[in-house]
């Protein structure tokens, strides 16, 4: 499996939180070769992969990554087809190109401050001063773009230097890619049954992970690995609050996670010489992990994260090596430490 190609395919598919159908279909098609796939009532993609060899009858292990991405939402139609909207990091919105998911897709540009009106004391960016410029007559916009239509950044997936990539939605298509790459690695090797869950709505309600993890619990799962992204080092940030890109799989250590599980993954990565770091959190992880471990009467849950820069912007940036290291660690866990 080509990591970059898979990540590109996933990043190109729209999946605004709450409207994930298109990226769900893409993820489902990527999963089909591993086992039967279904999409649950909330929209999450589930796949059940039979075990192989001596661990074929063990309890299934749940692998989870969220599928959705942060989105803007249309809240009003104004003169000359300008749209008011909410959502997004207000600091970076000006001048971004966007796709509007109305009755059909439309191109838009977020407005920017006219030069003669900039530099004053009103220097704080605000949604009040921003609109989406559609170039459509107002009547067309009103007929074709219902309020509530989702809007995504349309910045294309691109390589950055050697081995790095930048795109919107790397949070968390990087996690989805890591799980797909892990499934690729365990094919033909002994492993327990695997349940894959690509959840909807992590960026908003986390309802997707909650419901889907309950299904996994019902199917007998006793442990789960959640895969998400975390904060990568960049100028202006400290080493204490971030992890360097290229440092490998970030193994979550938190009172909210299963400590024994975290330590085992750390031991495994250490003994197999896989690039890894520890991500220490003092409480909640801000991911789907808490929702998953609370399913039914509980799943032992670990969290693996991929460090990225510029989270929740159109220029999210990741190092492919970290995705690969995460995939290898998941595969190693499933094959009981077998070198894969």
């Amino acid at each position: 499996m080509n990591l970059s190609e898979t990540l590109r395919t996933l990043c190109l598919a729209p999946g605004p939180t709450g409207n994930e159908r298109e990226v769900a279909d893409v993820a489902a098609s990527l999963l089909e070769k591993y086992g039967p796939v279904r999409i649950d009532r909330l929209g999450s993609v589930l796949c059940s992969i039979p075990g192989e060899g001596s661990s074929a009858s063990a309890a299934p292990v749940l692998l989870e990554a969220h599928l959705d991405q942060v989105a803007l939402v249309v809240t009003g139609i104004e003169e000359s087809g300008f749209l008011s909207f909410e959502g997004g990091d207000v600091r970076i919105l000006a001048s971004q190109e966007v796709t509007i998911y109305g009755k059909q897709t439309y191109y838009g540009v977020i407005t920017d401050r006219p030069p003669h009106l900039s530099g004053g004391k009103e220097d704080t960016p605000s949604h009040k001063a921003l609109r989406i410029d559609t170039g459509l007559p107002k009547e067309t916009a009103e007929a074709q773009i219902p309020l509530g239509s989702r809007v995504l950044y349309r910045t294309a997936y691109a390589a950055l230097g050697e081995g790095m990539v930048t795109a919107p939605a790397i949070d968390n298509r990087a996690g989805v890619t890591a799980i797909l790459a892990a499934l690729d690695r365990i094919q033909g090797k002994p492993h327990p049954p695997v349940l894959v869950q690509f959840s909807v709505q992590e960026e908003s309600t986390q309802a997707g992970a909650t419901a889907a993890a309950f299904a996994a619990f019902t199917a007998g799962a006793e442990e789960a690995i959640a895969v998400d992204v975390t904060f990568g080092f960049a100028p202006g940030l400290t080493r204490r609050e971030t992890l360097p890109l290229g440092s490998g799989a970030a193994i979550g250590f938190s009172p909210a996670l299963d400590d024994e599980f975290s330590r085992y993954l750390d031991y495994l990565a250490e003994s197999l010489d896989l690039p890894h770091t520890r991500e220490i959190m003092s409480g909640r992880t801000g991911t789907d992990a808490e929702r998953i471990q609370a399913a039914g009467d509980g799943l032992r849950t670990a969290l693996l994260s991929i460090p990225i820069r510029n989270m929740h912007t159109p220029v999210e940036t990741a190092d492919l090596k970290d995705i690969e290291a995460t995939a290898k660690l998941i595969a190693a866990y499933l094959t009981k430490g077998g070198l894969v």
Partner: protein, 334 residues
């Protein structure tokens, strides 16, 4: 207007002082009856053969665009930079930039890690950095542009970097390619307009009787801006101002522009705010003085990565530039 040509022109890198790629492209597309030279400041001066006009009227459009210059290379391959020309910091943060075939991104602290007002304020340019993933071939003094990309959208709109002033360049080139001009035509594709301008040197060398500057200008016709602050509007035609921050335009040329537009049903509008400035400033004051008028295409989000213009305004400006040049060359304004 040939939009395929416009797309090609806008894709070229041409940060002020580094206009070579634009100049080469224009030279390559000149018709055979044009002669040209590049002066010491980088202006490309083109003359198309023809009859001598009673009044020597030269056209100007600038080749350069706003951009970025690398001021320092930090460890881990992060680059510090400054802007070349006036660029709002809001137009830069969280965007991609272009360096040849490669891209960089201007990073930002994740909103999750911001404390207090930090999450709602934009860092100043000296605190920003370009992330090129450890690219080592880039040096202090190298320049970058906003990313290449040209889009037609909505009903008759276009969006790209560098429409300011490749639109003017293409208007002049298309006029140079016309085969029914009444007089010889001289055009200056000027350098460094965004940082003060080199056009005055070319104007001094040519000593024209009058001049027309083909430009773009800021339009703030947004729902968030009211009244005169809107300056001008897309879809309302060519913009001919009576005054801007650099030039007080001669009344006789201003009136001639409006008479010419009216007689030929070309939509025309003025600016409702004294804003902006262009090569007209330097050209007007060159030599013993050159009466100069500006014809602009109204553009939203000027000096940003996503400049927006309307095709109908581009056509109006091009048509007006030609007719105005013919009448000024004939000495009609006198």
């Amino acid at each position: 207007m040939n939009l395929r040509y416009l797309e090609e022109l806008c894709a070229l890198p041409g940060v002020s002082g580094h206009e070579d790629a634009v100049r080469d492209w224009i030279e390559l597309h000149l018709p055979a009856d044009c002669s040209y030279r590049t002066d010491r400041l980088g202006n490309l001066i083109v003359t198309k053969a023809g009859a001598k006009a009673p009044c020597f009227t030269v056209l100007f459009a600038h080749m350069d665009e706003v951009g970025f210059i690398v001021t320092d290379t930090a460890e881990d391959g992060f680059l510090h930079f400054d802007t070349v020309g006036g660029i709002d910091k809001q137009s830069v943060i969280g965007k991609r930039l272009q360096f040849g075939e490669r891209i960089g991104v201007v990073g930002i602290k994740p909103t999750h890690l911001c404390k207090g007002a930090e999450g709602e304020s934009i860092p100043d340019i000296p605190s920003m950095y370009i992330d090129m993933a450890g690219e080592t071939s880039i040096e202090r003094g190298d320049v970058l542009t906003f990313p290449v990309g040209f889009t037609r959208f909505g009903e008759g709109y276009i969006r790209s970097k560098a429409l300011d002033d490749r639109l003017g360049c293409l208007s002049l080139l298309e006029l140079l390619c016309a085969d029914d001009l009444p007089y010889a035509l001289t055009c200056v594709f000027s350098a460094r307009e965004e940082i003060g301008g080199a056009a005055a040197g070319a104007a001094y060398a040519l000593r024209p009787d009058s001049a027309i500057v083909a430009e773009t200008t800021t339009a703030a016709d947004l729902p968030t801006v009211e009244g005169a602050e809107r300056v001008c509007a897309l879809g309302k035609g060519a913009v001919v101002p009576f005054m801007d921050k650099g030039t007080l335009y001669p009344k006789h040329l201003y009136d001639l522009a409006y008479k010419t537009a009216a007689a030929n049903s070309i939509p025309i509008q003025t600016k409702t705010k004294i804003a902006g400035g262009n090569d007209a400033r330097g050209v007007t004051a060159s030599g013993c003085g050159v009466p100069t008028i500006t014809v602009s295409v109204p553009c939203r989000y000027l000096h940003g990565p996503s400049v927006v213009a309307k095709e109908s305004d581009c056509e109006a400006a091009s048509a007006l530039i030609r007719l105005l040049w013919e009448r000024m060359s004939a000495g009609d304004e006198l």
